[in-house]
């Protein structure tokens, strides 16, 4: 089979305005980062609430959080995305539905669906990490806090969570990297993030090896960079004397 190698292809004009193919990659990366960060905000907030719920005394709240985790962990991400993109908008009240389907830019409505999907999907995983972090703390911490007269919300806010979060930095980092990688499913509902732009470049230029290599390098470098950065952060915020996790 014949193949025309051309590594300069990224600087060729796309034929649309003065854009070059590299601009497509940059735009796509912008969407990918926006998706990951917005999804991460939801995942971290909801995941922390759920994780705390799982460690609370009583029966009902821990059960609710446990059911949430099982549902969101056992259904494939793509099925969840289809539910948020194809089904949920149809269930909205009429006014909201018209706004979502017609008034919004298609890219914006796809973006909202993917962010909600990624956020809720990852929240189930964050929940489990937060729970593990809280349970890893010695029981004496809670008892001492009670003895000092703190109330339950204060115990979590002032004593348990600040320590738990430092322990779970490594697993949370890998969850963030997962959300970053998972955001590529957005390409399947037509959002032009990094993977979709790569495919489009490959189809326009027929230089598919170059296009996919560039995308791979971008994902790889960002992933590795972030991982090394978080390892450094983890060392900086480690509580001396507390369980020395992740010292690898």
């Amino acid at each position: 089979m014949h193949y025309n190698w051309d590594w300069g292809v990224f600087f060729h004009s796309t034929g649309i305005g003065s854009e070059i193919y590299l601009d497509w990659f940059i735009k796509g990366l912008g969407w990918t980062i926006a998706l990951s960060l917005a999804g991460w905000v939801i995942a971290l907030l909801l995941g922390t609430v759920l994780g705390v719920m799982r460690t609370l005394p009583g029966k009902i709240l821990p059960k609710i959080a446990a059911v949430y985790v099982e549902i969101f962990r056992n259904i494939p991400l793509l099925v969840q995305l289809f539910v948020w993109y194809f089904i949920v908008p149809d269930l909205l009240p009429q006014g909201l539905q018209t706004w979502f389907k017609q008034d919004l830019n298609p890219a914006t409505s796809a973006f909202i669906s993917v962010v909600i999907c990624l956020g809720l999907f990852t929240a189930a995983r964050v929940c489990e990490q937060v729970r593990t972090g809280i349970q890893a703390l010695p029981k004496g911490q809670t008892n001492a806090a009670y003895a000092l007269g703190l109330r339950v919300p204060q115990i979590y806010k002032e004593v348990l969570l600040p320590q738990a979060f430092r322990i779970i930095i490594p697993p949370l980092t890998s969850e963030f990297l997962n959300i970053f990688k998972n955001s590529s499913v957005a390409s399947l509902i037509g959002l032009m993030e990094l993977l979709a732009q790569t495919k489009q470049t490959a189809e326009f230029t027929a230089n598919l090896f170059e296009a996919f290599t560039l995308a791979t390098i971008i994902y790889f470098v960002l992933n590795m960079g972030l991982m090394l950065f978080m390892r450094w952060v983890e060392k900086r915020v480690r509580v001396p004397g507390l369980i020395a996790l992740g010292g690898k």
């Binding site: 089979m1 962990r73 259904i75 793509l78 099925v79 539910v83 089904i87 790569t198 992933n223 590795m224």
Partner: protein, 221 residues
């Protein structure tokens, strides 16, 4: 909601599920085999071999599976063409299978590596003292024990793989999810079909992971 059209669509859905399961089983076999080789390479004393295996694992773990599936869908036919000199198309199923095997091998490798490292060093020394070679030690002493320990983790990873097979949607392969989507599109009842697909995935994954948890309890000494 009316679910009656699901019954008429059942044969299509079943054949989709068969494809999903076929892909899953082959990918697990290939992934575990390749992953074990990679784990042995990572733990070997040969610097070059362990660095290469380490790079392989880090590489596949830091790129999205969807990227790998798409890459291979475009690229594998080219490579086969170069290797064999023919222009035979190999089809989406095989390119997806190769993608899953190579991608999952990186994850299985880490599990196998941890399993091997959990076997005490004395076992290796004892095997050497008995005059066994490296391959005998691994095959007859270390790996059988390691695999028993890591079966729950390997199964857990395979459940994740089961869910991930739905991503073949990207290259138009008719797996379970894609059959449900297209079946629903044809009769205009996408909602029911997607919810049904979600329910089936949930029941299988949840059932399987409950069984794995029970197995894990029985295996722990």
């Amino acid at each position: 909601m009316d679910f009656s059209s699901l019954i008429t669509a059942m044969p299509g859905l079943l054949s989709g599920m068969m494809l999903t399961l076929k892909l899953l089983v082959l990918a697990i076999i290939g992934g575990v085999a390749l992953g074990t080789l990679l784990a042995l390479a990572r733990l070997s004393n040969n610097k070059l071999l362990s660095t290469l295996a380490g790079f392989y694992v880090n590489y596949f773990r830091s790129i999205p599976l969807l990227l790998v599936i798409t890459w291979f869908y475009f690229v594998v036919p080219f490579i086969i063409g170069w290797l064999t000199g023919t222009n035979e198309p190999i089809g989406a199923f095989y390119s997806c299978l190769v993608a899953f095997m190579m991608f999952e091998a990186a994850y299985y490798c880490e599990i196998v590596r941890a399993g091997i490292q959990s076997i005490s060093k004395g076992q290796v020394n004892a095997a050497y003292a008995l005059g066994m070679s490296y391959s005998q030690t691994m095959r007859l002493v270390i790996l059988p024990q390691a695999f028993r320990k890591m079966t729950p983790l390997l199964l857990q990873q395979s459940i994740i793989l089961f869910q991930d097979t739905s991503l073949v949607y990207a290259v138009g392969l008719m797996d379970f999810l894609n059959s449900a989507r297209s079946g629903g599109d044809i009769v205009g009842e996408l909602h029911q079909f997607l919810l049904f697909a979600g329910l089936v995935y949930f029941i299988i994954s949840f059932g399987a992971s409950t069984l794995v948890k029970r197995l894990q309890k029985r295996l722990t000494v």
